[in-house]
Amino acid sequence: MQEIMQYIPGDGIFHRVHPFTKLLFTIIIVLLAVLTSDLILLAVLLLVVFLAAWAAGLGRGLTEQIPLLLVLGLMLVLFTVLTMHGGEVIFTLIPSGIPFIGGALPVTTGALLFGTILSLRFAVMLFAFQLLVVSTKPGELVTTLRQLKMPIDYTLMFLIALRFIPTLQREGIRISEAQLARGYSPGDGMMGKIRGLRPVILPLILNSLGKADTLGLTIDMRGYRRGRAQTEKIVFGSLDAIVILSAVALAAVIAGVQIL
């Protein structure tokens, strides 16, 4: 089973640069994705993230997420088309020939464009963040966040989220096996499938809530919230400079295109 959002050991460019560099790279990319709403620029950003992943030898980890992202993108487009209208009407989901409701639910160019932009933006952010997470040991990431004077509670929150993603994945499989052993069959059709999730999702949520008490007590009793002193200075190499400079250059290009 492939665990999502987990560190993959390796020796590519992204593994060798300082976590701070990667953090800065990710922040710049995410900011650019939020600030621009140009379809082409977003596509370029996505391409840059993919090229960076490919150069870092982490391309496979990202391409595995494409099916999931396509589904999310389609849903985003669908929701915007249903809820937003603007520009020209391309066609209506309910043909105009039908009495009373005919001509309802128009699909407009504005909504399609906006939905696509949202999906692309989402893809850029997700991939950029994933690139950071798969190439950085969580411990190093936490140390860097501490060096940047990030409050310990937020750092712990981030760490715990990363730590429990694969645990929840596995717990989900265990629960689903236990229900399969009771003759449970996931339902048919979209609604059936959603209803069929109940016997798996409910125990998963209830068990997770049950862990919260122990987790909180452990954090206090092991003194994690005191935080350890961070005396080490961040040391950059030439590779770090290259990665940061390319991100800044990209930002400059995008800013230039936007203004022109």
């Binding site: 665990e3 987990q6 560190y7 040991k137 969580p138 411990g139 712990l156 760490l159 715990i160 990363l162 730590r163 694969p166 645990t167 994945q169 596995r170 717990e171 265990r174 629960i175 096996e177 236990a178 229900q179 399969l180 052993a181 009771r182 003759g183 449970y184 069959s185 109940r198 016997p199 409910l202 125990p203 209830l206 068990n207 049950g210 862990k211 919260a212 122990t214 987790l215 007590l217 452990t218 954090i219 206090d220 009793m221 092991r222 003194g223 994690y224 919230r225 005191r226 350890r228």
Partner: protein
């Protein structure tokens, strides 16, 4: 070291106190076992000694607790207390916060204020001590239950506090690993640490501990040496009834040279196994020896990589879980992995509806597992032992020929474990075949017809009892 005087405690929004007039004194350098039925107040007493009741929870408390002469209320909070008292909780998974075992223990060492070099040395020593040096770079989600417990214990030992409390922190370890942990605790006690250990299987820990307290219904009802208290508990147990039904009837399960690989790892490596009607077979063995992987084949959750599996004579290598689960019911280790409905009745009806069976049998099934009349109770409000029996009821209501139970007594006390065994014996007498995986060698030899030991994916011994 720890002195409690006349402690009574009631949780918030409850009327009945969980602890009633508890007084005790645990000297420095002592190792004490706390035992008693589940729900009797052992965990609450541990949390009282760790200062959690005084500083985190908002229940009603009377009486005093002192640590080395200092009133627990005089500490500023749980963080200051953590310099003197540390605790390992029963849920190991929730106590591993970092993404590798090494980081987990290292962070505790650094929080203790050790310098880098000393911390590295201490890390190596602790991992070696608990025999988990090979797990240093492993992430928590890749560990077995027992390995997680060892990691949680190592991270807590790293704090090197004067008082160490373990609340059922060894429940998922095999007998050998438990002995390792107990002897480490004994050495720490000899070095002047004060150890409190909550345990159901006190006979195993008896040789290491100085004293034992029996807690029943929120009160200390017996205290003395572990052997004395153990005798008291044995006296109160109901006599074990002998089985009457015929054993060794129809052949239900037959596995020949069964192999299961996860990637390159041969988790089950050429196993021959048979189970007949009326038989109870216990499978024992260390964590990771392939026990669970093997039994998952019997209801089709896993398919053999090599070898053949016959259920009632017909080969069923490629058959799906929906077909095989009509013959074999499987109860997983933790009942909470399957309970999701809001009443006991609905919970059992879920499985029956899935296979299209009538729900009229629910009342009698509940009576069979000692939960008669509890149809409308919320499963999450039941005690651990009751939930385990409910999980069992959910499966036996489906009335398959074979029932497989993975660690059916983990986290249960002796009386509750015996209740489960009685149910299994009755099912065997009715002609069902029973397979049970267990870490409790005592239960295996007392109740099974055959005890089979697994190691590295193979059976290394089979013993008729």
């Amino acid at each position: 070291m720890i002195r409690i005087e006349d402690l009574t405690y009631t949780y918030r929004n409850r009327d009945i106190p969980v602890l009633k007039n508890i007084s005790l004194s645990l000297p420095k350098g002592s190792m004490t076992i706390l035992t008693g039925p589940s729900g009797s107040g052992k965990t609450t007493l541990c949390r009282a000694m760790a200062g959690i009741l005084s500083h985190v929870y908002t229940g009603k408390a009377t009486g005093t607790i002192t640590i080395a002469g200092r009133d627990i209320m005089a500490y500023k909070g749980i963080e200051e207390l953590s310099h003197d008292v540390s605790m390992v909780f029963d849920d190991a998974d929730a106590q591993l916060i970092f993404t590798t075992v090494g980081e987990e223990v290292m962070t505790s060492l650094e929080n203790r204020g050790l310098l880098r070099m000393d911390a590295e040395n201490e890390l190596t020593r602790l991992l070696d001590l608990l025999e988990i040096a090979t797990l240093k770079e492993r992430a928590p989600y890749t560990l077995s239950g027992g390995q997680k417990q060892k990691a949680a214990i190592a991270a807590t030992l790293a704090l090197d506090s004067a008082v160490l409390i373990l609340d059922e922190a060894t429940s998922e370890l095999d007998a050998e690993a438990r002995n390792v942990v107990f002897s480490i605790l004994r050495q720490l006690a000899d070095l002047g640490r004060t150890i409190v250990l909550v345990e159901h299987m006190i006979d195993e820990a008896a040789a290491f501990a100085d004293a034992c307290l029996l807690i029943e219904d929120g009160q200390i009802t017996a205290s003395g040496t572990p052997a004395e208290v153990s005798r008291r508990i044995q006296e109160k147990l109901p006599p074990i009834t002998k089985r009457s039904g015929a054993r060794g009837g129809e052949l239900f399960i037959e596995a020949q040279d069964l192999v299961h690989c996860y990637g390159d790892h041969r988790a089950v490596d050429g196993v021959n196994f048979t189970l007949r009607s009326g038989e109870i077979v216990a499978i024992v063995g260390e964590n990771g020896s392939g026990k669970t992987t093997l039994v998952k084949h019997f209801n089709g959750l896993l398919k053999p990589t090599e070898g053949t599996l016959r259920i009632k004579g017909s080969v069923c290598n490629g058959q799906s879980i929906s077909t095989l689960s009509r013959h074999t019911g499987l109860v997983f280790q933790n009942p909470d992995t399957m309970l999701f409905e809001d009443t006991v009745h609905k919970e059992i009806a879920f499985g029956l509806k899935n296979i299209g069976t009538d729900v009229h049998c629910i009342g009698s099934v509940l009576a069979e597992v000692g939960l008669a009349g509890r149809e409308d109770t919320n499963p999450r409000h039941l005690s651990r032992g009751e939930r385990q029996r409910l999980a069992l009821a959910c499966v036996i209501a489906m009335d398959q020929e074979v029932f497989v139970l993975d660690e059916p007594t983990t986290g249960l006390d002796l009386a509750e474990s015996l209740q489960i065994m009685e149910i299994l014996m009755r099912l065997a007498d009715e002609g069902h075949g029973i397979v049970m995986i267990t870490h409790n060698p005592g239960l295996a030899t007392a109740f099974a017809d055959r005890v089979m030991k697994m190691s590295n994916g193979r059976f290394i011994s089979s013993q008729e009892v």
